[in-house]
C-alpha cells in the first residue's frame, strides 16, 4: 500500500464483508421459511434471490427469513420492505418470480401487483 487511494480501495472491498453488521436502514427481503414455506420451495426461492442480488451486485439489501404467518397455501411468501414504503407481501414466489421481483421492485421500484397478496402500511 503506497497511497491513500490504495487504502480507500481496500476499504471499499472490505466494507462488503461487514456491511450486514453496520447498516441501519435499508431494503429488506423477508422469505417465509416455516415448514410450509420450505415445503413449497422457499429454499429455492431464497437461493434465487441471493443469486440474483449477487449477479446484479446489489449490496444494500438485507435478506432474512421469517416463520409461518398462517397463509400456508400462498407460500412461498416473500415480503419486500423498502425504507419509508409499505411492506409488500408477494405470494407463490417461485425462483423465476423472485428474480423478476428483484428486477422490477428492488431495482426499478415497480411493485408487481398481480402477485401481491397484501400491502401493510407503517412497517
Amino acid at each position: 500500500m503506497k497511497s491513500l487511494e490504495d487504502l480507500r480501495r481496500i476499504r471499499e472491498q472490505a466494507q462488503a464483508q461487514i456491511r450486514l453488521r453496520t447498516q441501519e436502514t435499508n431494503t429488506k427481503i423477508i422469505v417465509g421459511m416455516g415448514t410450509c414455506g420450505i415445503a413449497a420451495g422457499a429454499r429455492e426461492t431464497l437461493m434465487a434471490i441471493l443469486d440474483e442480488l449477487a449477479k446484479r451486485n446489489i449490496q444494500d439489501v438485507v435478506v432474512t427469513q421469517t416463520g409461518c404467518v398462517g397463509l400456508c397455501e400462498y407460500e412461498p411468501l416473500v415480503n419486500v420492505v423498502k425504507p419509508g414504503q409499505p411492506k409488500i407481501t408477494y405470494m407463490k414466489v417461485t425462483p423465476e418470480r423472485a428474480r423478476q421481483i428483484i428486477a422490477s421492485h428492488i431495482v426499478n421500484d415497480q411493485v408487481i401487483n398481480e402477485w401481491v397478496l397484501s400491502t401493510e402500511e407503517g412497517v
Binding site: M1, K2, S3, L4, D6, L7, I10, R11, Q13, A14, Q15, Q17, I18, L20, R21, T22, Q23, K28, I30, V31, M33, G34, I38, L46, L50, D51, L53, A54, V62, V63, T64, Q65, T66, G67
Partner: protein, 603 residues
Amino acid sequence: MAIVRANVLICAGSACVSSRAYEFKDALLKALEEAGIRAEVNVVDTGCVGTCDLGPVAIVYPDGVFYVKLKPEDATTIVNEHLLKGRVVNRLLYQQPMTKEVFPSLSEIDFVARQKRIVLRNMGIINPESIEEYIAREGYEALAKALTMTPEEVIDTVKRSGLRGRGGAGFPTGLKWELARKAKGNPKYVICNGDEGDPGAFMDRSILEGDPHSVIEGMMIAGYAIGASKGFFYVRAEYPLAIKRLELALEQARNYGLIGENILGTDFSFDIELRRGSGAFVCGEETALIASIEGRRGEPRPRPPYPANKGLWDKPTVINNVETLANIAPIILNGADWFSSIGTEKSKGTKVFALAGKVNNTGLIEVPFGTSLREIVFEVGGGIPGGKKFKAAQTGGPSGGCIPAEYLDIPLDYESLKQIGAIVGSGGLIIMDEDTCMVDVARFFLEFTQSESCGKCPPCRVGTRKMLDILERIINGEGEEGDIERLIELGNEVRQDSLCGLGQTAPNPVLSTIRFFRDEYEAHINEKRCPAKSCRALIAYQVIPDKCRACGICARVCPVGAAQGKPREIHFIDKNLCIKCGDCFAKCPFGAIEKVDIFLEKS
C-alpha cells in the same frame, strides 16, 4: 459468488473464550454444514462485547439478535430455528436481571444502550484478526489524515480535544506529546503501556484483544507527532491472547506497508516492536517500565527528569496507555471539537470501565465522563444481585479509593473523584454491597500493593508492611486504641515519601475507607465486631432452630463435619470444629443458618 446473507459474530474475548466460546463456534460451523447453509452464513470472531458475565455470546446480523450463555448444543437450535426459519430463539436471549424483560437485540439492552462507544467502537462488529475489517471501519484513515497535517497541527488537535491519559494519572496527552516533540535528543520513542495490573481491571486487555489496530494506529500518529520512528508495545505475558492478536495485527500492518518505510508514500517511517513484561505491578510505572524494556530490573527512578525528556535509553519518550492511544484515531478523524463536546468541563471524552463485583451485569463498559455512579450501577450494571443494598464502589484499584452510597450521584470525572479522595484510575470499578467489610477491602488492596512493592524505597517497602500488620490485627479482633490514627499517620507518610506512584497511592484505599467508614473500623477495634459480618475471626455461624427442616444439606456440604444433626432433628454447628467457610450458609435452602457476632455473644 453467493451473497452471504447472515453474519454470526462470536465474542472471542478472553472471558468468552474461557467459557468455551470456541466449542460453541465449532458446533455452529458443524450445524451450518449439516443444514447446507455454510456458504450463506459467515461466522466471525469479534472483540469483547463487554457482557462478560453472559458469555459465550454471539450476535446474528443483519437482525442484530444477541444470544447469551451459549452452549455447544445450542448451535443446532440457532441454525435450524433462526438461520433457516428466521425464528429468534427466545430462550437464549438476554433477560434484564431486575425486570425479567427479554431483549432481542444487543443495541436495545440497557447495558449497551446506555453506553457511548468511541474506544470500543469496533467491538462486536469487526474481527480483530482481520486488518481489512478494521480498514472497512475507516481504519488507518486517521493516520493518512495525520500525515497530511504538520506534527504541530496533530499535537494541537490532541491538545484541544482535551484528551487526558487513561492509565490513571490523567495527564493531558497533547501536552505530553508537545514536551516530547520539543525535547532535544534523537531518536525519540513511543511506548504503549499495556502493563495493566489493577485487580479487577481488564480494559486494556480487551482493547488489545478486540481492536489491536486502533492502538497501533494511535501509536503511529503519536510517533509522527513527536518525531519518533520507533515504538514499543509493553504488554504483560499473562495476556497471551492480546499478545497473539497484537503480533498478528503488526504483521498484517507490515505486509500492507502501513508499518515500515515511507508510509503511504510519505517521508514518515515507523516500526513497532512488542515487548513482554512478566507481570510485576510496578512495571506499569513509567520509569520502571522503561527499565524493564531496557533489560534491567523493573524499578522506578526519581522524576524529574520525565521520560518526555529522558526516557528509553535516555532519549525523549512518550508513554501512553492502551486506551489513550485507542482514542487518537477518532479524534484526528472527527476533530478536537467533536471529542471535547463529550464529557465534562475538564474531563473530555469517554472512559472504559471494567465493572466487577456485586453487580448484575459485570463486564466492560464505556460511558462519557460525568456519568453518575448511580447510572452505571443501576442502569448499565443492572443493579445489585439478590436485592441487596449498594454500599460502596472502589475506583482505581489499589491506587484508588471508595465512593460510598451518599455519593452515588457524583459525576465520574477526574476532578469530582479527586475531591472525595478517590480517583478515576485506569478504570477498574468494583461494586460492593452490604455484605462487604470495608476494613477487609482496605486490607485486600494493601496486601496487593505490599506484595508488589519493589522494595527500592523504605517508605513503601516498610510503610505498607506496617500498615498491613495493623489492618490484619484489626480484622482478627486484636485492634488497639489509636490504630486508626496510626494508620492515617503512616498512610500520609508513605504517600508523601515514596519514590513512585505505587507507594504514593498505596495508602489510598485505607485512608479513603477510614474517611467514609470510620465507624466500621471503630466497631472492629472497640467492640470486636464486624458490621458486615464478613471478618471470620469476629463471627460465628449458627442454626436458627425455627427455620431448620433437618434436610441435612448443611451436614453434607460442611468440609470439616462441624454441621451435624440426625435425620428429622434440628441440626447444629459445632463452633469448635467450624472453620467459617460459609458453605452451609450459602447452601441452606431455608435460610436457617445465620451469622452472629461472637464477641457480642460472649458478653
